[in-house]
Amino acid sequence: MIDWAPLILTFKLALITTFLLFIISIPLAYWMAFTKSKFKPVIETLVSMPLVLPPTVIGFYLLIAFSPANAFGNWLNEWLGLRLVFSFEGLLLASIFYSLPFMVHPIQSGFANLPRSLKEMSYIIGKSRTATITKVLLPNIKPSLLTGIVLAFAHTIGEFGVVLMIGGNIPGKTKVASIAIYDEVEALNYGAANTYSLILFALTFCILLLVYLFNNGYLKQFYR
């Protein structure tokens, strides 16, 4: 029988990451979709960096930054009591950075593709910006929101490099499924590695399939 802890940890991490990312990404994506600020290209680049950088690079810099041996990590440790290296909190923060573009990009393009007139009409009938976002814009980009949520979730499940760098391999604390697989293979324990892999494969397949079914309208017959 395999150890379920890495799988549970993986899904716990993915769930919390996705939830926090959703909250962070809506204002960020709104800003990126509508701002005329000259800083927009810089912010866009930063958000997109995790798409192209090797995860180990992000992991490495976070490791350096959060290390209690350095000023910032020390400050976090002393003042907030936060140890971000080799801890679940650190893993969470790294995951948020790493999966940020997967949540922000779909929501941003959802906002940008809505007709400008919807937002303007909402203003004309006296609605504030917040009411316009929550009652008009967000309900009309549900497919984008779903895509963002699922991609961020699935991508967090698929993390390896970042997690290994900042979290290490502490059973029950930072040892997620992808690392457990690596471990089992290193120990020539192919059976267990295969079980973990199959579970991850099947689950991510199902999640993505559901999104595509939903966004292509195949599921409409069941919920309408």
Binding site: P115, S117, L118, E120, M121, S122, Y123, I124, I125, G126, K127, S128, K135, V136, P139, N140
Partner: protein
Amino acid sequence: MIELAFQKKLISASGEMLLSIETKIKEGSLVTLYGKSGAGKTTILRILGGLTQPDFGTIKVHDTIWLDISKKINLKPQKRKVGFVFQDYALFPNMTVKENLEFALLKGENSNIINHLIEMVELGELQHRKPTTLSGGQQQRVALARALVQKPKLLMLDEPLSALDEEIRFKLQQYILTVHKEFGLTTLLISHDVSEVLRMSNVVIELNEGKIIKQGTTNQIFNHQDLSAQFQLTGTLIQSIKQDFIYILSVQIGKDVVKIVADESEGNDLKIGDKILVSAKAFNPIIQKIS
């Protein structure tokens, strides 16, 4: 009285254009902004609605200052309380017809107006449908009803009828006239259909390249006040054939093509595509070029 005086540089297809508007609009009038596309009509409505900011100028509505660039006053669209019907209607797709209207209702206002409006534009049977399932004319009625929920003083319609066929168009013109009267509105309408302008409005502002070139009553603008005709029709010249010393003109009036005989003096300066006015006293048609 609505007093407009503003300027804005616009980038149009034919290069830069200065929109420079100075005019007064009397309360309660139904004004048509008339002119070629690209003349700045939509921008004027957007500036009035607070969606676009001019470079200089002021807007005063019933003695309230909506905009004064030099004093950095620019009332937000939310505070201007205008009714606006966009060219694309901008109905909220996530809400039903009724919900679209309810969303526009201000907090604490009596919701009876919603049922009244739904009845008035005959949307009762469709009120629980989503806008995407409606036809163009039906969507237009929803947009019109929604624009009236807050009982605005000023109603603006950006080419509301251009996408509709003749029959529905006529019906909707009647709706607009009805609400204009019933709500005591000042209505600003964009149109480039002369027959629509004649049928609907009492004041016309004609624009060209961002400037007002004519403003006055419909009769003054279309320059036929000295005719005492039995009937008048406006249409577009689509064919002109010269036979000996008369012209046979084919004129498109609405969906129909009408053949009219014109003498040389009338026919000589007409080109295909000209907007013309055909009027008749008993059996003697008079033909006049109007634009």
